[in-house]
């Protein structure tokens, strides 16, 4: 026997029930959507916070690196300044002490040799140009630093003069020693050889720095004897 369902629900109640179901669907849809939006927003906010933290940490490291870069740049500038000063000083200061050159020359004097005149000139001088020199003249060019010297005196004979020249030539930095003249003179009724020698020392060359603790030549050995020869 077949049974038929009997719908006794009035239409108004049915319509109200269906409206409730529809409203429920709308609310459910909205709530689900809102929950999804909230979850996504929370997730993204957490990601954002974490990214901000990482960026702050990276910035701290980068600041340290930038500070190191700045410091390195500053140090490079200071080193350049000090090296510039050293280079300028090397150009300004003479590479050799005149007192040591003088002491060396006088200590090289053989027995019986007497000096009458010593001229040392280490002053700056302009470059001399011969008429054959070509090319433009640079008036601002730094002239070469050279010490020129002339030593004149008396010796008992030519052998003493030759020994003096030889000793000087064998000693750094006296290299180009030339005997300008040697002639016989009468000194207090005795025959002697008057001589003059000259040399040049290149001050542009590099020399070993003199030891500060090296003792100076004894003054008694350096005495330029007075000559009474005429």
């Amino acid at each position: 026997m077949k049974q038929h369902s009997i719908d006794l629900l009035p239409d108004s109640i049915r319509a109200r029930s269906q409206a409730g179901v529809r409203t429920g669907r709308y609310i459910t849809s909205a709530v689900v959507s809102i929950i999804l939006v909230v979850v996504a927003t929370t997730h993204v906010c957490l990601q954002l916070d974490r990214a901000r933290g990482e960026r702050a940490s990276a910035r701290e490291q980068a600041d340290l690196v930038l500070a190191a870069e700045e410091k390195a740049s500053e140090l490079e500038g200071m080193i350049e300044e000090v090296e510039g000063f050293i280079e300028r000083y090397r150009r300004i200061a003479p590479p050799l002490e005149i007192n040591r050159l003088l002491a060396t020359a006088i200590n090289a004097m053989p027995e019986g040799l007497t000096l009458d005149r010593v001229d040392l000139d280490a002053g700056a001088r302009r470059i001399t140009r011969s008429p054959r020199d070509k090319g433009p003249v640079d008036p601002d060019a730094a002239p070469p630093r050279v010490l020129t010297a002339e030593i004149a005196g008396f010796a008992p004979d030519d052998r003493a003069i030759a020994e003096f020249v030889s000793r000087l030539e064998g000693t750094e930095p006296f290299r180009q020693v030339s005997l300008d003249f040697s002639r016989t003179r009468d000194v207090r009724g005795r025959t002697a050889r008057e001589f003059r020698l000259s040399f040049r020392i290149n001050f542009e060359a590099d020399y070993e720095p003199a030891r500060a603790d090296a003792p100076p030549a004894p003054a008694t050995e350096l005495a330029l004897e007075e000559t009474d020869h005429e």
């Binding site: 993204v44 990601q47 080193i79 000090v82 002053g123 700056a124 350096l222």
Partner: protein
């Protein structure tokens, strides 16, 4: 049919809320987070590229210290004023009539310390003319060259002084050219 339409409306409404929330809340934060991550990656790349800078700073600091030590050890002072009076006081020898008969200081005009170079250092010539024994002249040369400030000897002229022979004193006529080096401070224009 009517029910289906309501269902579609509910779904579309939900999607609209999702889109609106995504556009207003999720997307701006996501975009900012992505930008920050890129920025962080860029900073980290820079940091890793510059990883050797600490070592470089230490090396440069050592180099600077070494250069300064060399300046202190090997180079003399270049003062900012010639102070010729102070130099004369230090180099002046007592005129005792026995070892030193006369001593004269003559200062000249300042010029460039090195001709042809645009250095700030200047050179003040000072000539010391003496009538003295060799020991005294040599002592003056030594004193000038062993000062803690830079003084150049530009010339030395020694000649036997025969006028003293009668008195039995081996005297010399000497002229020692000095160059007092100083670093004149730059003068501001208009001052």
């Amino acid at each position: 049919m009517n029910e289906n339409r309501h269902l579609i409306f509910a779904i579309v409404g939900g999607l609209a809320i999702l889109l609106l929330g995504g556009a207003l809340l999720v997307w701006p934060n996501y975009r900012e987070a992505r930008q920050i991550r890129q920025e962080t990656a860029e900073l980290r790349r820079k940091v890793s590229d510059s990883a050797g800078h600490t070592g470089t700073v230490e090396r440069l600091a050592d180099e600077l210290e070494s250069a300064r030590a060399r300046v202190d050890r090997e180079l003399k002072l270049i003062p900012d004023a010639p102070d010729v009076a102070g130099l004369m006081r230090k180099l002046s020898l007592p005129v005792d009539g026995r070892t030193v008969l006369d001593q004269t200081f003559t200062a000249g005009n300042a010029c460039d310390a090195v001709l042809g170079e645009s250095f700030s250092e200047r050179s003040m010539p000072l000539t010391v003319d003496m009538q003295a024994r060799f020991d005294s002249v040599f002592a003056l040369i030594c004193a000038a060259e062993r000062m803690n400030r830079l003084v150049r000897i530009s010339s030395v002229r020694l000649a036997a002084d025969r006028s003293g022979a009668a008195r039995g004193m081996p005297m010399l006529t000497a002229s020692v050219g000095l160059e007092v080096i100083y670093d004149a401070p730059a003068v501001e224009e208009g001052s």
